[in-house]
Amino acid sequence: MPFYSSLDWLDNGNNKKALQEAEKVLKKQPNFQCAKVLKALALSRLGKDDECEQILESVRKEVPCEDSTLQAMTLCYREIHKPEKICEIYEGATKKDPNNEELLTHLFMAHVRVNDYRKQQQTALALYKLKPKNPYYFWTVMSIVMQAYKADDKISKGVVLPLAERMVEKFVEFGKVEAEQEVQLYLMILEMQEKYAEALEVLSGPLSAKLVSCLNPVPIRRAGLLMKMKRWNDANLSYKLLLRDDLDRWSFYQDYFTSSFHLFDEKSIPNSEEEKKEKDIDGDTGVLNKSAEDAQETASSPDNLIDSKCSVISKISQESSDCKGNPNDTIRVENSEDGADEEGLWSKADSSPEEVKRFLGVLSRKNEKLTRKFRGPYLAYLELYQRLLERGKENPSDVAGDVISLLMAYFSNFGDKPCCFPDLKIFLHLLPEEKKEEFISKIKILVALPESQFAENPQQMQQHINLIELSRRIGFHQNLPKDEKVKLASDLIRHYAHGVRFASPLHTDFSMNDMYAMIACHLLYEEWIEEKLNGNHSKTLLLQAMVILELVLSLSPSNYHAKLLLLKIYALIGAGKAAQGIYELLDVKHMQLDSLGHIHCCHIYSSGLYSVAYSIYETTLKFFTANYKDSVDHLTFSYKFGSFLTIEEFVEFRERLDNSLHYSSIVVEDWLLEILRAGNHAQRVQTMLQVDINLEEDKIKWGKLQDNRDLKVMIAWDPPDRQITPELTKETFEEGVGLLRLRSLVLHIIGAAITLSENYPISGEKTAKVTNGSESRSDKDHCSLLQNLVEELTTCFSSLGTQYPTECHEQKSLLQMISAPLPSRLFSLLRHGSWCQHLQLMVKILTGLVQQDHKQLQNVHEEPESDEILSSMSAASNLLEDSVKEIKEESTKCIDQDCDLTKRKSFLEHVVLIVEMIGVAVLICEICQSILKPLKNAPLVKKAKKKKEITNIQQPKTLDAYNKMVNHLKQTTEELKKLMETWEQGMTASMSMDIAAGDRDSDSSLSALLKDLQHTENCNNKEHKCTTPSDWFSSERKVVDKLKDSYKASAVEIRQLLAIKAKNLVNLHV
């Protein structure tokens, strides 16, 4: 049957066949609704959205009620991004058939898709009235809660949430609450209103029995509520009990300390305001509260405490051990071991530093007895030390102990684990300057690895690595003189080579010794950047780092730290293709397209690899649009499964992705690139047709843009002043916003220019009509729109210029931080301001010609106007010529042996910018040509004698100037093309010399050392996996080949694009 085969074809993605089959069905049964919709679906998938919508509209008017038709329509509307229409069709259907549960459910979900909370509520209520099922009731409640989510605080708390609360209470009264999720929703509503006492009551009551699916939910939630209620005494006790069962929970320690410290304060000021206030709040909340008050009153006389609190404590304690049953024996702590000397420990809050110390002591002793010790108790002492130091009342050493001993206690237990560094790094600032040396030497003694000797086993190696990482963090590497830094790097490489024997046999595991090589590379990078900032350019250091990283990757292919750093260095020196190779190894996908977009996607375009950039842009955009469409489905799932807690989160998450700065930037870059790469004007117009921008109005929600970058992904052991700070994160984000502002304006200007061209059909052929955001606009409107946009661009450019003076220190400090993102392209755009001037001039020429054209038609003759066009034309030509001159100089500097390697990047960046200028010039010339061409023929076509005369006088000048400009443009394009050829050859030669230079370099050179090294390494190591000379050599070769290949690829792509532009120009004469 054709109907079903149409469905099959759709499923298989053969939309043409599906269309044919659907049409066959419709021939026999022209009113078959579902077949009509299938036809529409096939049409939409064939890219014919207009036809699709027409059919859908006609079916919609028939108000279909049949499920399969409605489902198919839903699918269609989703695919053409019109979710609001889904609501309409189901609204119609439910009106016709109001007692259909299924239709109502679909209507509810349709409202969920468009976040219409009020209508959700109405529909859910209608459902509940129809079929009194619990889920429908709670859908209503949740829909009310979501209204509070968007409302301002006063209304939400005052009206909306109490309503939701009352609805749930009604159900509780009648004993109708069934599911765990319903209780969770109840608790959520109470907590949103800060009704913690009420929430606590729910947790103590029969409803808490329904909370089964999470572990230990009641005691943990209760403790959290007690914290929120500032009932420090009870909270403290709860956390003590929780910690008794789980020695390693960091959040428990945090809350335990917070509550203890509040108790310290309360004790020292017995009748403080705060305490009074708390008592007032606690006044009416039942048993637990009373004991809290008791506890506070009797805090100074512990003897009275035990009795009065007994009932509460035993309750908490019982729940805690009931619910928290950890099957792992090593984790479970036997209560009986607490012993007599710890009597009262579990029934009394800790309100003095001494008590806290005693408590930690108990936990530590428990920990010591375990076969596998936890980090928790060791780190807890450091946390205590830190908090005491911040508080500034007690001497932290008196309470927590000497800071070096605390750090050493951790190190002696976990120094042979890779978690040592991330754990200790947040506590190293506790070391006063004068104790740093002592700390490091103590570790050295413990590690017991004399200089010039290598680790004997993996444990010792890891300890040694941690020692080096900690020294670096403390700042011991930063101030070393150059020679020593390089020497340290070579030592580390020796250790690395030696450690290969301990590497895991699994390729999927990181090799432990990799970290030696990574730190060595950080040292080399650091030294390279120092030298660079001092005006010395030492290529070798950076080249060596690349060689080492390639080697690490060849032996340890899953080490993403090495990949990220290598990618960064390649990008830094403009080696786009090499960077792309590493990017592919990283296998960046879905969310990472957003969170890691800054590492590669943002920079690849500046290296001139247009095709690569385009494909990464497309992948990125596909992810974002798919997400926007799909994440709505998950929202409906959350309602379906009653996962109410995730609903708000999903809504927020969806917005966070949709407002991603990276997303908005790539949308703009993608269009700009597509217009630039289009082979001719017709293609450019075609592209513009698809651009989803509104020329008069900005679509980007500037105030809502989100920074979704993961800037912590790159590892760094640098001291805190060389780590990326929140301020720097914000600054780099704003630079990205600035860049987007400029680029978005450029896109708008180009869009407006192309739109203008629709009024001037090229070579008689009427081009497709481009109407972005407005119906047909008059030329005059076009011109003023263009002028406004250019004005906006100029203002934006100059204000950004003031905000970011050239070569500002920020960029420098960014480069100094190895884990920081690369400096934004914004700086290159600001440095080479001629693109902006050039765009201004080109628009001036265009609008001038249009206006002149009009005046001529109206027989107005004004000489100065024309002069301005002529001068703009020559100015534009000169600007381009100057830019090419500038770039020529840069190119020789690039090839120069002693040059700064980053010059290669800035060179390519600048070339790409000039190519863009040429692209804009070609585009505007295309439009100018279509304006001028009819004028040239005017004497032949037009009959009015007067007009003929004017054109005869007027045109030759403008035409000549125009033709001259086109010629000039052609020349410049060819020149740049040739320059890229010379540059490519120069780079290839220069790279070959680099190796030779590396070979010749002095003894201090790392490469010499490395080459030495393998000879000693290579002997007697046959049974171990080992680096061999060929590894080092092949890595070096690999780097040089990759760089050569990369620069070549960039040059080739740039030349190809220039060739297209040159070809366009051939036909642009009038």
């Binding site: 947040i426 699994l506 996908k589 799909d630 996962s643 989160e649 999903f650």
Partner: protein
């Protein structure tokens, strides 16, 4: 030192240190292939359906140490907990974190009155298999060419009985391997 907390959507922006690691198998499970078209759907599907089965472990410095995601499914005596993904960041390996996370998932499954917990693992992933065996899992059956790739790789379907399965019927190994399409 670890903080266990429910996984949130925002974690997806920052769990790169875990997910850049090729050992993270979440993207190659055969039977859930559909969801990997845009991996995000995969995580959200679990968050929407089994939020209680999705936990993340965080270090004191705020780094994501690892995460576990799972689900509960099946009827009758086949009602069981399933480990969909378990991943620990390289820096936080060898601390027993995987053991803690597994114990946690087993506890949740106990509470849900499941009969057993199961998981799939590449037959080549010796380290993981050893660990699971140490935790009491047995190889219940081999699933042929479960992991697509070049070449496709077999999986072990490993199981551990929970207290509800008193007679330990769920962990009697099958003698013959099965095809992925026969896995329910």
């Amino acid at each position: 030192m670890t903080t266990l907390r429910p996984f949130t959507c925002n974690d997806m922006f920052k769990f790169n240190n875990v997910n850049l690691d090729p050992l993270t198998e979440t993207v190659s499970l055969h039977n859930t292939y559909y969801f990997f078209l845009y991996g995000l759907s995969f995580y959200m599907q679990y968050l929407a359906h089994w939020p209680e089965y999705f936990q993340v472990a965080e270090s004191p410095s705020g780094e994501i140490m690892g995460y576990i995601m799972g689900k509960a499914e099946g009827h009758g005596e086949n009602w069981h907990g399933h480990v969909t993904a378990l991943s620990v960041s390289p820096e936080f390996r060898r601390l027993g974190l995987a053991v803690t996370l597994m114990a946690w998932l087993e506890d949740v499954s106990e509470k849900k009155r499941a009969y057993f917990v199961d998981l799939f693992v590449r037959v080549s992933n010796k380290g993981a298999i050893t660990m699971y065996k140490r935790l009491g899992y047995i190889v219940y059956r081999t699933v042929l060419e479960y992991y697509s790739g070049d070449p496709d790789e077999d999986a072990f379907d490993m199981r551990k009985a929970l207290s509800r399965d008193v007679k330990k019927r769920s962990v009697i190994p099958l003698t013959h391997p099965v095809r992925p399409e026969d896995v329910d």
